[in-house]
Symmetry: D2
Subunit: 138 residues, 4 copies
C-alpha cells in the first residue's frame, strides 16, 4: 500500500465551502502515480516506453466533506494487475480526526501513446507489480 | 431527459493528448444543473432556500477518449428522487460520429447550506421533479 | 473582435462564493481559440502543422466578482501579430448588468510541437491574421 | 520570503505536453497561503474573522515550460502591505536544473466575506506582516 499526504488547496474548494468532488478523482490519480513510483514504475518511464494508461472506470463514495487546508492521507492499494489492465482502490482520511473522506476504485488500461490501442505492459514491469501485490497478501 | 452541448476546452486536455477524466465528472454536474433548471429548480434558488446538494457517489465508465474541440452531447436523466436524495444517470456522445464517450451515475443528498446536515427538499420542488420523472416513463 | 458567451459553471467557484480567478485565464484561452477559428486558423490545424502556441505572459485585472450561473460575454481582440508572436487583449462583461468582470492581455509564441523551439507561423496564416487586424482598424 | 515545494501533477498538464499556464496562477495562491501561514496569519482564521482576500490583479511571465513530475520551488515575497491591500511577487524554479519557470505578481484586497466590500485588515495582523516585510529588508 502506498500512503501519500495531500494538503487541500484553496482553488480545490467550491461555493458550497467544501472541496469540489472532482478533486478526489484527481487525487486518486496522484495515488496511482505514487504507488507505481514506489514499485519502481515511473509514469514518465512508461511514457518513454510508449505506454499510456487510459482510464476505464472510476467509482467514488463520498463520506465526509474535505475542507480548505485539511491535511489528508491518501491510501492506494493495487487490487488487480494483468498485462492489459490494472485496478486500484483508494481511501482518503483526514489526518486530524481520522474521518474517512472518501473511498474509491479505478481501472486503467495499458495503451500505445500513439495509436491509443491496447499495448501489453512489458513483462518486467508486470512481474514487479504482481510480486508487490502478492507480498501485500491481499 | 435534458440534453446539453459541450465543446471541449483546451485546458481540459492532458499530456496524453485527450480530455482528462476528471472533466467528465464536472460535466455530469453541468448536466444536473441544466436538468434541474429545465424542471424549474434553479441551483441558485435552492441555495437561497438554504439547500445544498452534496455528492454521495459518482461512477463513470469511459468508452472513447474525447479530444480538444470535440462537440459533445451530454444526456442527463433523473433516475430516483426522494426528499433526501436524488440520482441521475448520464451519457456523453460525440456529435460528429455518435461515439459514446462515457456513461455514468451520480447520487446527491439534500443538505443545509450552514449545518451541512440532511435537509428535506421542499415539497413543491419534490413534486415537480417526481412528476417530470413519471412523465418520462422509465 | 471575437465575442463569445460563457456560462459560469459550479466547479469554477471557490469557497469565497465567487469564481476562482484562475478561470479568467482559462477563459482568455477560449477567446484566443475562438478568435483564431473565426479567422480561419483552427488550433487543431495548427497542431497538425506542427505548431503550438506556448504562453509568454498573462495579465489580468479583476474588476467585479463573477458568480455561479452568470452569463458572461468574452471579447477578444488581436493586438499584435508577427510571425513569431501574437498578443491578444480581453474584456469579460456580465450580460445582465454590463458589469466589467475583468480585463486582460496575453502574449503567445509560435513554437514547434516537438522541439518546443520557435517556429515561424506559415505566411498564409500570418497574412490572414494581419489582414483581419488591419480591417478592424485599431 | 517563503519557499514552498510543488510536485507537478499529471492533471496539471495539457495536450501540448507541458503544464497548463493557469496552474502557475493557482500555485501563486498556494504561495500566498504559505507566506501568510508562516507569518502567523492563517487564511482560515482570516475567514473566521470575516475577511476574504479577493484578487485585484495577476501578472505572470512564463520563462520555461514545467512538465509532469517536475519538482518545483515556489518563492513568495511580500512586496507591499497596507490595511486594505497586499502585493506579493513570486518566482518558480525547477529544482533539478535551477531553470526559472515563471515570475509573477499579484495584488489582493481585504474584503468582508458577506458584503464583499472593503474591510480593513485588523491592526495586529497588519503590524505582524509589516514587521516581517521590514525585517526582510527589501
Amino acid at each position: 500500500m502506498n500512503t501519500a499526504k495531500i494538503k487541500v488547496r484553496f482553488y480545490e474548494t467550491d461555493m458550497a465551502g467544501i472541496v469540489h468532488h472532482s478533486n478526489h478523482i484527481r487525487w486518486f490519480e496522484m495515488g496511482r502515480v505514487e504507488y507505481l513510483r514506489q514499485a519502481g514504475v515511473c509514469v514518465n518511464a512508461l511514457t518513454k516506453a510508449g505506454i499510456m494508461t487510459p482510464i476505464i472506470s472510476v467509482e467514488c463514495v463520498y463520506k465526509t466533506a474535505a475542507r480548505f487546508d485539511d491535511d489528508l492521507i491518501l491510501e492506494t492499494k493495487l487490487d488487480k494487475i494483468s498485462r492489459v489492465r490494472v485496478s486500484f482502490s483508494f481511501r482518503i482520511i483526514r489526518e486530524c480526526d481520522s474521518a474517512i473522506i472518501a473511498e474509491g476504485r479505478t481501472e486503467n488500461a495499458f495503451a500505445d501513446t500513439k495509436t491509443y490501442r491496447v499495448k501489453r505492459l512489458p513483462v518486467d514491469y508486470y512481474e514487479r507489480l504482481k510480486e508487490i501485490k502478492e507480498k501485500e497478501g491481499e
